[in-house]
């Protein structure tokens, strides 16, 4: 034993003798862990809790505006709840869920024993979590964009800055991991498509979150000391609201599309050709990051005007609204090529794939909605259509992330989530998300004002039906979320996963035991192609390399 080894006695009894001491020790180990799987799981757990809280708020707001008259909540509470719902969808649900899945799965996919800068990722987790808690405290005490308590408004702005800082820190660790911790032989070109999409996503966050942080620094100083430059607390949404809407939120969806292609290759038993085209699709969706750094939330075009003016507005509209949509279409086209039937080939659909496919399709609905929203001639700006678009993007992202959690359940929890259990949940989640989003979009076409612009009141009683449908959709989606949580808990308890790689899998995370040990791999695999596990299997239904 060298002088730096830990004594075996000290390792054997780390947390005392009693059950309580052992439990406290285990909790302390989890909360201070530098294991990327633990950090990822904590991010996901926080995201699921944030999502459920946001869904409760959404249901309350939907109930409030069923008849456009308001009967449940007082006006002050509505303002706080609208802030809570808007921030909750992005910062409490979408961001932590996608970050958590990426942190948990990417190092495994890369064949790495740990992620780069794990302490930075953990710092990102706790900065995000601290910011979220402070955000809730500020909203509960009359803070927020329409809050009446100046100190709580300051806290509200500071909490957003903390969450932005946490996201940037976690993204930095993720991007560095993809660049530096790949297994021997795994060039960036051979990296799994999910990891490549996470690189685009993390790079986008590194570009966007500092810009948001800088704006929030200005907003904090202005609100605290002068309130002349940015319009006080009301100006917060004018100056920083772009992060809560499309196209900025589209950058969060990039990993869902990478996950879709990785799983499609497994389901259809083929090597993924056209990897360059897939990467192009991720990059096109990543253009939403460029939209975000302009600090604008809307790139609109009016066709009913002079040609020169149309062209002037059309270029940014096409660039920031239509190109991300094109990126989503390109990725789905690559998947369609993978799905093309082949002689002797059989598809092996999985629950994870179904969830991810439904999620991607609903995100695509949100992208189409975003493209329509920017056409001012349709008179959708300021209506509930924007809410429908955000709902589609965020709910779709959540379903897609659930697909990843189901796919990697053996490596992350040691159990499996079979298609028999997850398919009904996938259908329920997709139906709920689609109904909630489309109902709001229709209400937008019928001129119902947006919660964000006009509160919960409106005059036309014919709109009630669409609000009821949206409420039902959100409730169904919430039930599906709870159902998926039950599936994950069940998988974790069952520990029924096999160490042998399932048929058709291609990437190196399947070469380790289930669940993956602390240092991921007993032997770091050497990679010779983009589908290293497929190379090991004696017979494949592969087509092209």
């Amino acid at each position: 034993m060298t002088t730096i080894d830990t004594s075996p006695d000290a390792v054997a009894t780390p947390s005392g003798d009693s059950a309580i001491e052992r439990s406290l020790g285990a909790i302390a180990n989890t909360l201070t862990s530098a294991d990327h799987k633990v950090i990822g799981r904590l991010f996901v757990a926080g995201g699921v809790l944030g999502l459920l809280a946001t869904l409760v708020v959404t249901v309350l707001l939907d109930l409030e505006r069923v008849d456009g008259d308001g009967f449940l909540l007082d006006e002050g509470a509505i303002a706080q709840l609208i802030d809570a719902q808007r921030i909750g969808l992005v910062f409490a649900a979408a961001l932590p869920l996608v970050l958590g899945l990426a942190i948990a799965a990417v190092p495994l996919q890369l064949g790495a024993r740990s992620m780069a800068f794990p302490r930075l990722a953990a710092a990102g987790l706790w900065l995000w979590f601290g910011g979220l808690v402070l955000n809730i405290v500020s909203l509960a005490n009359n803070g927020g964009t329409l809050g009446g308590d100046a100190d709580m408004v300051d806290l509200f702005i500071a909490s957003l800055a903390l969450m932005a800082l946490g996201a940037a820190a976690a993204a930095g660790a993720l991007a560095t991991s993809v660049f530096t911790t790949r297994a021997p032989g795994m060039t960036l070109k051979r990296a799994p498509l999910f990891s490549q999409s996470v690189l685009v996503f993390a790079g986008s966050l590194i570009l966007v979150m500092p810009v948001l942080f800088g704006t929030l620094v200005y907003l904090f100083i202005d609100h605290r000391y002068s309130r002349e430059a940015f319009g006080g607390n009301v100006g917060t949404l004018e100056w920083a609201g772009w992060i809560l809407t499309q196209p900025a939120t589209l950058l969060l969806t990039i990993p869902v599309f990478g996950l879709l292609l990785d799983q499609a290759a497994v389901v259809f038993g083929k090597r993924t050709g056209m990897r360059g085209l897939a990467l192009t699709g991720f990059g096109l969706i990543g253009i939403s990051a460029l939209a975000a750094v302009t600090q604008r939330g809307l790139f609109d075009v009016t066709f009913d005007q002079d040609g020169a003016d149309v062209v002037q507005e059309l270029i940014p509209y096409l660039f920031f609204n239509v190109l991300p949509l094109l990126g989503g279409v390109v990725v789905l086209a690559v998947m369609a090529v993978l799905a093309k039937p082949q002689k002797g080939g059989t598809a092996r659909p999985t629950g994870g794939f179904l969830l991810t496919l439904f999620g991607a399709l609903i995100i695509l609905l949100g992208m189409v909605g975003n493209a329509l929203y920017g056409i001012t001639d349709l008179e959708l700006i300021g209506t509930a259509f924007e809410e429908g678009t955000t709902t589609a993007v965020v709910y779709g992202l959540v379903i897609g992330v659930f697909g990843g959690l189901a796919y990697w359940a053996p490596k992350l929890s040691g159990g499996t989530i079979g298609i028999g259990k997850s398919a009904p949940d996938a259908l329920l989640a997709a139906a709920g998300a689609a109904v909630a989003a489309i109902a709001l979009m229709v209400a937008g076409f019928l001129d119902q004002p947006s919660l964000y612009a006009g509160g919960a009141s409106f005059d036309d009683s014919d709109l009630s039906i669409w609000n009821i449908i949206s409420l039902v959709g959100t409730a169904l989606f919430a039930v599906a979320v709870l159902g998926f949580v039950a599936l994950v808990v069940g998988a974790r308890r069952s520990h029924d996963a096999d160490d042998e790689p399932p048929a058709g899998v291609q990437t190196v995370e399947w070469l380790t035991s289930s669940p993956a040990p602390d240092d991921n791999f007993a032997t770091v695999p050497v990679v010779h192609s983009a589908e290293p596990v497929l190379d090991l299997q004696p017979t494949t239904t592969g087509s092209d390399a």
Binding site: Y218, Y225, S226, E228, W239
Partner: protein, 191 residues
Amino acid sequence: MEALAPPPPPPARRQVLVGASLAAVASAMLVGGMLAVWLLLRTRAIDAGESWLPSGVTIPEVPSNIMLIAFLPVCVCAQWAHWSATRNDRANAFLALGITALLAFMIINAQFFVLYELGVGVSDGAYGTLFFGITGVFLALMIVGLLVTLVTAFRLFGGRTDGELLAAHAIYWYAMSAVFAAIWFVVYVTK
């Protein structure tokens, strides 16, 4: 007796270098976004016929110019430290890091002097808010840089002379130089 073939060399990790590069990009985006807001509000004020610079305010140009000039030796010294460390010349590396830290401290001091001499408070309207916001962020980035230099020196003292850490250290200071050049042009020259 035959010897076993040597194992393949471990792949270059360069995590610190990549991390520093990403931090440099993030710093540039942070300050770039803040300068964009500065220029937008400045343009709006001028278009509305208002005076952007509060009356009676004189920007202390000498210390701001000295800060800009000081970044040149900062970069040279950071590169000198890297050059020395890769040649195992610890004495020169320490000397270079020491001068880097001293110059960084001098720049921080000059920035505080500018804030003190400016004659505008943080609560004095839009200009005060933006000036204190952007210079405050710059000060925070400088303090981070100073800490990076001190940690690098400590690691060098501990025997780490592989050059990667010092290359990362140099990248950070190059980025800070670019960041301050942008601040200098927008805030101190264009005003």
